[in-house]
């Protein structure tokens, strides 16, 4: 149990290469589950290696329980790590794999046996203890790798994309198990992934990274509902948020976004009023589930008629693609909506949930409408 704080952490490999990590500032409380998420090459794994001490930081400080550990060697940091490739020692059996770290720490043999037994029971791998890693399935190797980390009872766990080598079904199972394990043990955890579903489901806090910079740091809900910029908005969410480039207008003192489906036009009044946004190239962001079928009786929300171009039933949802402002837009509808390609649907949007981004910089524009205000709307809006 420990707090973890990163202060202005920098990592550079010199030789005129761009810095791998730029002024990373993060802080999590004891027992929290932090997710580092981002595309490959964003620096998330480097950051994790720096926390583990496998790489030296070029500047800043890494604090565990308010003590700077950035100069310590990995073995003294009391941090355990689960690797993407599991990194099980191939010539040792499962028992020795789990016991290795304890032996290195000169724990008495009896205590080691006890600890191995505890971990094996916890992870239900008692029957595998005499096997070599090569004789285990991917899921079993994953458990052993976790067991090796658990046996050490470290202050902090690091997970480096631990599920990416598993098949889809096993991945979902193990995800749940990791979450259960964390709820039970309450050990501070840092978890690196490029999978935004893992990021949303596992984390207490999420740090979205790109190009060595933290784009946004917050709870999964903040990241999802209130993304700081175009990158975060596009990275989190599946199917991804729709981005419609357009020009804003001002009418009767209100900001309007003009949508055009080819068949019809719609003036979408925005939920906020910031001067200076009119006549600018902006990008309107709207998540697929925030586009709904308009009910038979008018409810005051703006709507637009559009032609269905593709339908993709996914089981729980029906994804319908229409064209707005020459951009393909995905709408997530209830699976029983009777529609097919060529039909015209009347769609409506909740202006309060629409996001605006600067077309050039990708930064968020305007003030965010607080989520609570639109709650009633959203419930109704889901329209199922």
């Amino acid at each position: 149990m420990a707090t973890l704080e990163l202060r202005n952490v920098n990592k550079s490999y010199g030789n005129g290469l761009p810095d791998t990590l730029k002024s990373i500032e993060l802080s999590i409380d004891s027992g929290e589950f932090l997710i580092l998420v981002g595309p490959s090459g964003c620096g998330k794994s480097t950051l994790m290696n720096c926390i583990a001490g496998l790489e030296q930081i070029s500047g800043g400080a890494i604090l565990v329980d308010d003590a700077d550990i950035s100069g310590m060697s990995p073995k003294d940091r009391d941090i355990a790590m689960v690797f993407q490739s599991y990194a099980l020692y191939p010539t040792m059996n499962v028992r020795d794999n789990i016991a290795f770290g304890l032996k290195m720490r000169k724990m008495p043999a009896a205590a080691i046996d006890e600890e191995v037994a505890r971990v094996a029971k916890l992870l239900q791998i008692e029957h595998l203890l005499t096997r070599k890693p090569g004789q285990l399935s991917g899921g079993q190797q994953q458990r052993v790798a976790m067991g090796r980390a658990l046996a050490r009872r470290p202050k902090i766990y690091l997970f480096d994309e631990p599920l990416s080598n598993l098949d889809a079904k096993l991945r979902v199972e193990m995800r749940t198990e990791i979450k259960l394990m964390h709820q039970r043990l309450k050990t501070t955890t840092v978890y690196v992934t490029h999978d935004q579903i893992e990021a949303m489901t596992l984390g207490d806090k999420v740090a979205v990274m790109k190009d060595g910079l933290i784009q946004q740091f917050g709870t999964p809900q903040q990241i999802y509902n209130d993304p700081a910029n175009l990158f975060v908005a596009s990275f989190i969410g599946s199917p991804p948020m729709n981005f419609i480039p357009l020009r804003l207008q001002r009418k009767d003192g209100r900001l309007l976004a003009l949508l055009d489906s080819g068949q019809a036009r719609c003036e979408l009044p925005l939920g906020f009023n910031v001067p200076g946004l009119e006549d600018r190239e902006v990008i309107l962001g709207i998540r697929p589930e925030q586009i709904a079928l308009a009910p038979a009786h008018a409810n005051g929300l703006p709507s637009i008629r559009a032609e269905v171009q593709i339908t993709e039933p996914t089981g729980p949802d029906l994804l319908v693609f229409v064209t707005l402002n020459q951009t393909k837009v995905c709408c997530r509808l209830a699976p029983d909506v009777p529609t097919q390609v060529g039909d015209t649907l009347t769609l409506q949007f909740d202006p309060a949930r629409v996001l605006l981004f600067d077309a050039a910089s990708g930064e968020r524009l305007g003030v965010v409408a607080p989520v609570q205000e639109g709650k009633d709307n959203v419930a109704q809006f889901k329209g199922r």
Partner: protein, 281 residues
């Protein structure tokens, strides 16, 4: 690529293929057969018969004489080969471990410089090396040859281990470091136990290279310190007395048997050494 398109019936082309392959086998085997036959013949038998004629009387006099002449040098070769093979393999393993798992600024450059050693024509280092051995008082000793073989075997042994360890996930070392293991513990407890195949490849490669060496042997050793290849060459190319071909052939067999034996017993590793060396050098 094993072609699945070849008809399995014994067509004319199948017959041609098999006869070519068997003929080739004969051509590769004839020198060995001739050596064996000749080594067991008497000198008169050699003059009256021909290369492939069966000995009139099988006699081991050639082998006995050969052993009397080159036997001592055979043990020289053993004394040179065993320590040189073991030490150069160990050094190569450590170097490969550092160059793959503990890279530092300049280590890649060093590897490049070392790699060139695989191609180095030894003629360019013979003179300075012999001066150095002289200064060290190791001229014309088996110890001096051990040293030379270690130094100039390093390029290949390092290459073998470095390439092998490059295919081992770095995460293994990271995991062990977090588990609290140090540099040598990781090497001894985790990497060495998984290196058995490459250790075999390296040992066999070094063994054949050093056992078969002639250049270093003839330049750096004289008299009693000579390895068997040099002794064999002296025996065969001596211009005094009557040529005893049965002795020559028996001596050649004695010089060739250790490596042949290794090849027959561990051909798999021998081939892997050759091709691993071929990838980069």
């Amino acid at each position: 690529m094993t072609s699945s398109l070849v008809p399995r019936s014994l067509s004319f082309s199948r017959l041609a293929i098999y006869s070519t392959l068997i003929l080739a086998c004969a051509l590769y085997l004839i020198p060995l057969i001739v050596m064996l036959l000749t080594s067991f013949k008497s000198p008169e038998d050699i003059r009256t018969g021909n290369l492939l004629s069966w000995p009139e009387v099988i006699t081991s006099i050639g082998w006995i004489k050969a052993w009397e002449t080159v036997g001592g040098y055979f043990w020289n070769s053993v004394k040179i080969t065993v320590p040189a093979v073991v030490i150069s393999t160990l050094l190569g393993a450590l170097n490969g471990y550092v160059l793959s798992m503990w890279r530092f600024r300049g280590s890649q450059l060093f590897f490049g410089l070392l790699l060139f050693g695989c191609f180095l024509p030894f003629q360019t280092v013979l003179l300075p090396a012999s001066f150095t051995l002289g200064k060290l008082g190791l001229a014309s000793t088996t110890t001096g040859l051990v040293l030379v073989h270690i130094v100039y075997g390093l390029a290949f042994t390092t290459l073998f281990f470095r390439n092998y360890y490059c295919s081992v996930p770095q995460a293994l070392v990271s995991a062990a470091r977090l588990d609290g293991a140090g540099f040598f513990t990781i090497f001894g407890r985790i990497l060495l136990p998984m290196s058995v195949p490459i250790i075999m490849v390296c040992l066999i490669w070094q063994f054949t290279q050093i056992w078969n060496d002639f250049l270093f042997g003839v330049v750096f050793a004289s008299g009693d310190a000579q390895p068997i290849t040099v002794a064999l060459n002296n025996l065969v190319n001596t211009s005094t007395g009557v040529k005893e071909y049965n002795v020559d052939m028996a001596a050649a067999m004695i010089a060739g048997l250790p490596t042949l034996l290794v090849y027959v017993l561990a051909g798999k590793y021998f081939l892997r050494g050759l091709t691993a060396g071929a990838v980069k050098g």
